[in-house]
């Protein structure tokens, strides 16, 4: 057997070629050894490289399998569904012979609660990012940042407990006030659950906003801190005030980061399960896009029925809902990546 030239060895030489394109090339090795100096090394390289490749492939495989198995399990139930999957607000799976389920209501509650959370969290996150990168004393910026990141460390079930037992009663007067004075707007109109107790999208949205704050902040902060020094100094030289510097250099430069961070936050909010499950109260009628509605999101609906996943067809109905959630988060996360023009970190 002849040993082929180096190029056949996985990941080997690609000698001092052009460095990898884009910013990812920093710190990546371009000098690669001529392996197999004493024999054995070449085989070792080949095996090790293959194992590394296989590990990478596993991740692609995991996503592919995820889509595949969710589809396989959802299709029989979708075929047995007697209601329209997209437009029906019913979700009745008690009788396996007469499945009637649709995602209209779940979609509405999921989108409304997530967008509401986003509307609260994004301005605050941008404010924090601007504060930490441009205003806070340099020595304090790091510990301050850690403080915000610590929010991400609190388990979501704890946020749920706090939300329903501690925050909800405090928010009740606020909700009543908004309902009384802005009730003419559909968003603050009368909901399908009682305001007392606070088991509304309003409360859930505020808690979700707290939960997604760290990720939006960290992505935005990262981009803000990359603002070219020259641009900032140029603005300062023209006599700009601090606010004008931020508005004219940091914000335009960091726009992609703000969008990417918001998208990542949206993805988190869409899929948040247990905090929403604990907080939202189930409603008898369908909602009308009011933040004082109750109901279920995709995630909380699935989790609420998890104990009864025994027979295949009803379970498939929930898996179908899960599939929609998977697609939704897939799209949102892909958009986040697109907005950032490549890698988005800050998980």
């Amino acid at each position: 057997m002849t040993i082929k030239p180096d190029s056949s060895v996985v990941g080997s030489p690609a000698p001092v070629g052009p460095p990898r394109s884009g910013h990812t090339s920093i710190m990546v090795s371009t000098v690669v050894p001529r392996s197999g100096f004493k024999g054995g090394g070449r085989w070792g390289d080949r095996i090790f490289g293959s194992v590394a490749l296989a590990a990478g492939a596993t991740i692609i495989g995991a996503i592919a399998l995820m889509a595949l198995f969710l589809i396989i399990q959802a299709v029989p139930s979708l075929q047995a569904n007697k209601a329209n999957f997209i437009t029906s607000t019913e979700f009745n799976t008690t009788d396996a012979g007469n499945l009637r389920f649709g995602i209209a209501e779940l979609f509405q509650v999921t989108i409304l609660s997530s967008l509401f959370a986003l509307a609260i969290a994004v301005p605050i996150a941008i404010g924090i990012a601007a504060f930490l990168t441009n205003y806070a004393p340099r020595r304090l910026a790091r510990p301050f940042g850690v403080l915000v990141d610590m929010l991400a460390a609190v388990p979501s079930i704890v946020f749920g407990l706090w939300g329903i037992f501690v925050l909800a009663p405090r928010l009740e007067p606020v909700a009543a006030f908004l309902n009384a004075h802005l009730g003419w707007l559909f968003l603050f109109g009368k909901g399908n659950v009682s305001l007392s107790g606070g088991g509304t999208i309003f409360t859930a949205g505020v808690v979700l906003a707290v939960m997604i704050l760290p990720i939006i902040t960290s992505v935005t902060r990262e981009v803000f801190s990359l603002t070219p020094r020259g641009q900032v100094e140029a603005a300062q030289a023209l006599g700009a005030t601090k606010w004008e510097v931020v508005r004219m250099t940091v914000f335009p430069y960091g726009r992609s980061g703000m969008i990417a961070g918001s998208m990542l936050g949206l993805g988190r909010a869409l899929g948040e399960t247990v905090a929403v499950l604990i907080i939202l109260r189930s409603a008898a009628q369908a909602g009308h896009w009011s933040v004082f509605d109750g109901g279920y999101t995709f995630a909380s609906k699935i989790a609420s029925a998890a104990a009864e996943f025994s027979s295949k067809l009803p379970t498939g109905a929930y898996i179908a809902a899960g599939l929609v959630l998977f697609l939704l988060t897939f799209v949102v996360n892909a958009l986040a990546r697109l907005a950032a023009g490549g890698r988005v970190s800050g998980g």
Binding site: T30, A62, M66, G127, K312, T315, L325
Partner: protein, 297 residues
């Protein structure tokens, strides 16, 4: 007229409106930060205040809830702590080698389309909601392959949630290893694989471990997988592959349906216990990080 230079004062004072805008922006940005610290302090205060009584109670760390009546202030949560640690531990055992190898692939080998697709999929996996990961494991492991609900199934779902965090963090740490180290090793005739295993990874190890601890802390609080993939048990179960097993989030969720005061006390006690464990992991990670920065400079 043109012979006389039209010369005003060199510096105009800031117009009041610009001054006000500037002050307003400063106040707004600072208060955005202040607002963010409110929920953190509030949540931690609430959990400590309501949970501390249960946690310091007799047997909290050493007993299970076996034979404890719903309205009895007795028993403990060691069975749930065991479950939480076991499930996260198995998930770490599975995801650490896989995640580190995938990161090595991306940093040391990955070129071209396949590496780009892998990076993209890591990002997508990072965004998969925990309930979807749980449903997937349910569809694959329980529904299709026919295994029973078990702690191991939970661990499999946690692997999916941990993997992207481990990959990303390891990637960052490997990229921080200076190229000179690699080159020095190559110059000594060491093959690439040995260079990675003996030079690159050991150099990055404290950072990798620190990221691992954070990933571990994050999956310990995951509730969605345990709701779907394992049943609750009031007593200890050591077997990861069979039977119901409690974990702290599952215990909290189950005790929420207990209307007695004792149930509420257990809910907050378990929440505090969970936060203490997660906090300990964070502190450990911070120490490692400090070690890392001290030894690099």
């Amino acid at each position: 007229m043109l012979e006389v230079p039209a010369k005003g004062p060199t510096f105009h004072p800031l117009s009041p409106i610009r001054k006000i805008k500037n002050k307003l922006a400063t106040v707004l940005f600072a208060s955005a930060f202040a607002v963010a610290t409110v929920p953190l302090v509030w949540v931690l205060f609430t959990v400590v205040e309501r949970g501390v009584k249960a946690v310091v109670g007799q047997g909290w760390w050493t007993r299970s809830l076996a034979g404890v009546l719903p309205d009895q202030f007795a028993g403990g949560v060691y069975h749930a702590i065991y479950g939480t640690v076991l499930q996260a531990g198995i998930a770490a055992l599975l995801s650490v080698p896989l995640g580190i190898m995938a990161a090595i692939y991306l940093v040391e080998y990955g070129r071209g389309t396949f590496a780009k697709v892998t990076t993209f999929m890591v990002d997508i996996l990072a965004g998969v909601p925990s309930i979807v990961a749980a449903l997937f494991i349910f569809a694959l492991w329980i529904s299709t392959l026919g295994f029973p609900q078990s702690a191991f199934a939970v661990s499999l779902a946690l692997v999916l949630l941990m993997l992207p965090v481990v990959v990303r963090n390891t990637e960052e740490m490997l990229k921080l290893v200076p190229d000179e180290l690699r080159e020095a090793s190559y110059a000594l005739g060491i093959p690439k694989w040995k260079t990675i295993l003996r030079v690159v990874v050991p150099t990055a190890l404290p950072g990798i471990i620190s990221g691992l601890l954070l990933a571990l802390a994050r999956v310990m609080g995951e509730t969605a997988p345990v709701l779907v993939l394992v049943g609750y048990a009031r007593s200890i179960n050591y077997d990861a592959f069979n039977g119901n097993m409690a974990s702290l989030p599952l215990l909290i969720y189950t005790e929420l349906t207990n209307p007695e005061a004792a149930g509420r006390a257990r809910v907050w006690g378990a929440a505090l216990t969970l936060i203490v464990i997660v906090g300990a992991l964070y502190v450990a990670a911070a120490f490692l990080n400090r070690y890392l920065t001290r030894h690099r400079t």
